[in-house]
């Protein structure tokens, strides 16, 4: 599966699940009809734009690639985003740009999604705090339980 196909499938699964709020989706063709396209800014002024930001129990920041090996850099990028910006700032920036008025403090959860796991699980360069959404096998479980439950289970691993 291509990055585009995984991104669309994840977005559609999130949209169908009442337990999930899609806060941001960076659509492949740049036409952001369906959600905000939230850009986060680090203290160094650098911009980071997760492909998907979902709110279920946690606030999920998700990067999408076609291959797992292509997503390795994104794992490190996500970790750096939270480390340098801080969880509180991440939530504040996302909520402000999505126009959310809630003042809750959800946990931040990080994930990369990919269409093919060419690394067969993980590599030494994978970040322990970043979950893997292997979309070559995930759809059946997502279809059965819903994306929110699927994501929740990832945090229990």
């Amino acid at each position: 599966m291509t990055e585009e196909e995984v991104s669309v499938a994840l977005f559609m699964a999130a949209s169908r699940d009442d337990e999930i709020e899609v806060l941001s989706w960076q659509s492949i063709d740049g036409k952001n009809y369906f959600a905000f396209d939230i850009k986060l800014r680090l203290p160094t002024n650098e911009r980071m734009e997760p492909d998907l930001i979902l709110k279920s129990g946690s606030l999920w920041l998700i990067e999408v690639k076609g291959l797992h090996s292509e997503a390795i850099d994104d794992e490190q990028k996500l970790v750096r985003l939270v480390r340098e910006l801080g969880e509180t700032q991440v939530v504040e920036q996302v909520y402000r740009r999505a126009g959310k008025l809630e003042r809750d403090a959800p946990d931040i959860a990080l994930a990369v999604a990919f269409g093919e796991d060419d690394l067969r699980g993980s590599s030494q360069r994978c970040e322990a705090s970043v979950s893997h959404i292997n979309w070559s096998i995930a759809p059946a479980e997502v279809e059965r339980a819903g994306l929110a439950r699927y994501l929740d289970a990832l945090t229990q691993v």
Partner: protein, 395 residues
């Protein structure tokens, strides 16, 4: 009845499948809009100009086009998407433009909000007028904005009712004869028409570079353009106008290229559009289409004056303009400086302009016949006055 929804890109297709394919369009075929080269005949006249986000075809006839613009274009760019709306209407097809009617100029990374700005009221006036001229519905629908003044996600509570109304209208137009669409919208969607009329009634300026020209004129000379433009036009506003003045060159004579009718030699009138910009296809195409709409309605030939664009990339006129620009930027002298002084710009204004001016060679661009503006101009203009020649295509 065979119905097909052609969608420009993936997001357009997702939107159509999720929200449009219901009721009368539930059995419609959804396809991606093909390229012009591979398009079926029914789509070619439309695609020759631009691509809409949705194109609805019923039994081999285009019955509705829809354009989404999350960005509410304002100021000089207000007509960025207009060429495709005009093309649709002039081909006898109802068209819908879904865009914020006003928006906040905001970089979403900025903290501060700035004042809301209206999308060009003239756009809505023109849509209403086009509806009457071509007897098809030409509709602007408001894409609601959110807390920061930018377009709300279509599936958010703020925008969803409007999206549903849009889809209701498209489904209705899909089974309505185009010739009956204007009355249909007026009778069944009066709130949409009222919102357009309200927007169209907002006062606006910026029409100084479009207007009537009494004929005959010595078209090949520059003098008539200087006389036709408002007094002091080049000396007021943005200093970049100096570049257009240099390209226009008061004393220049331009050869006529093409076998078109030399209508300018006879008594009569023409409608003129002056473009002082460099080669910028999207906004220029919209403004050309706007002028074409007026010329068509008045039954007049359209003359487009675009002096910062040259036909001959390596010609002497373009090279001398680029040399003058480079000299001005490097040493503050030469033809650009002399023209700025002649136009009455202050020393400070000239110095500030010199500090920021780019010497990129697209400042004096090259005309491309097989580009979007090239194709549009070939379809609508009776004469195109470029920096070095006058194009007079056969009509």
């Amino acid at each position: 009845m065979a119905l097909t929804i052609y969608c420009d890109e993936l997001s357009d297709e997702l939107l159509a499948r999720q929200y449009l394919c219901r009721d009368g369009l539930s059995a419609a075929t959804v396809e991606r809009l093909p390229s012009l080269a591979t398009a079926p005949e029914v789509l070619k006249p439309l695609l020759r100009w631009e691509r809409h986000d949705w194109v609805i075809v019923r039994d081999g006839v285009i019955v509705c086009t829809v354009e989404f613009s999350r960005h509410g274009y304002t100021g000089d760019n207000g007509f960025q998407r207009f060429a495709r709306l005009f093309r649709s209407a002039s081909l006898g097809t109802p068209t819908i433009y879904f865009t914020p009617f006003s928006r906040t100029r905001l970089n979403e990374l900025d903290e501060g909000l700035q004042a809301p700005r209206n999308v060009a009221p003239e756009l809505f006036q023109t849509l209403l007028r086009m509806g009457e001229t071509y007897n098809v519905a030409c509709v602007g629908m408001n894409w609601p904005t959110t807390h920061d003044g930018t377009a709300a996600p279509l599936t958010s509570p703020a925008a969803l009712p409007q999206l549903h109304q849009l889809c209701d209208l498209v489904r209705a137009l899909a089974v309505t004869a185009p010739g009956a669409s204007l009355d249909f919208v007026a009778d069944n969607f009066p709130d949409v028409v009222t919102a357009m009329r309200t927007q169209a009634a907002i006062p606006f300026t910026g029409t100084a570079t479009r207007g009537l020209l009494s004929l005959p004129v010595e078209m090949t000379e520059s003098r008539w353009i200087w006389d036709w433009l408002p007094d002091g036009y080049f000396g007021h506003g943005k200093a970049d106008k100096v570049l257009a003045a240099v390209a226009l060159a008061l004393e220049r004579e331009r050869p006529v290229v093409g076998e078109g009718d030399p209508f300018w030699e006879r008594e009569g009138q023409a409608w003129v559009l002056f473009l002082g910009y460099q080669w910028r296809p999207d906004p220029a195409s919209g403004l050309v289409a706007l002028a074409a709409e007026t010329a068509d309605r008045m039954g007049l030939p359209l003359v487009v004056v675009w002096p910062r664009v040259f036909r001959d990339r390596n010609g002497a006129d373009r090279r001398s303009a680029l040399l003058a620009l480079n000299e001005f930027q490097a040493s503050g002298t030469g033809a650009v400086y002399d023209e700025a002084v002649r136009l009455g710009l202050s020393g400070d204004a000239i110095a500030r302009f010199r500090d920021r001016v780019s010497t990129n060679d697209n400042q004096f661009g090259t005309y491309a016949a097989n580009s979007k503006p090239g194709r549009i101009l070939a379809d609508v203009a009776a004469a195109v006055v470029l920096g070095d020649v006058i194009l007079a295509p056969p009509t």
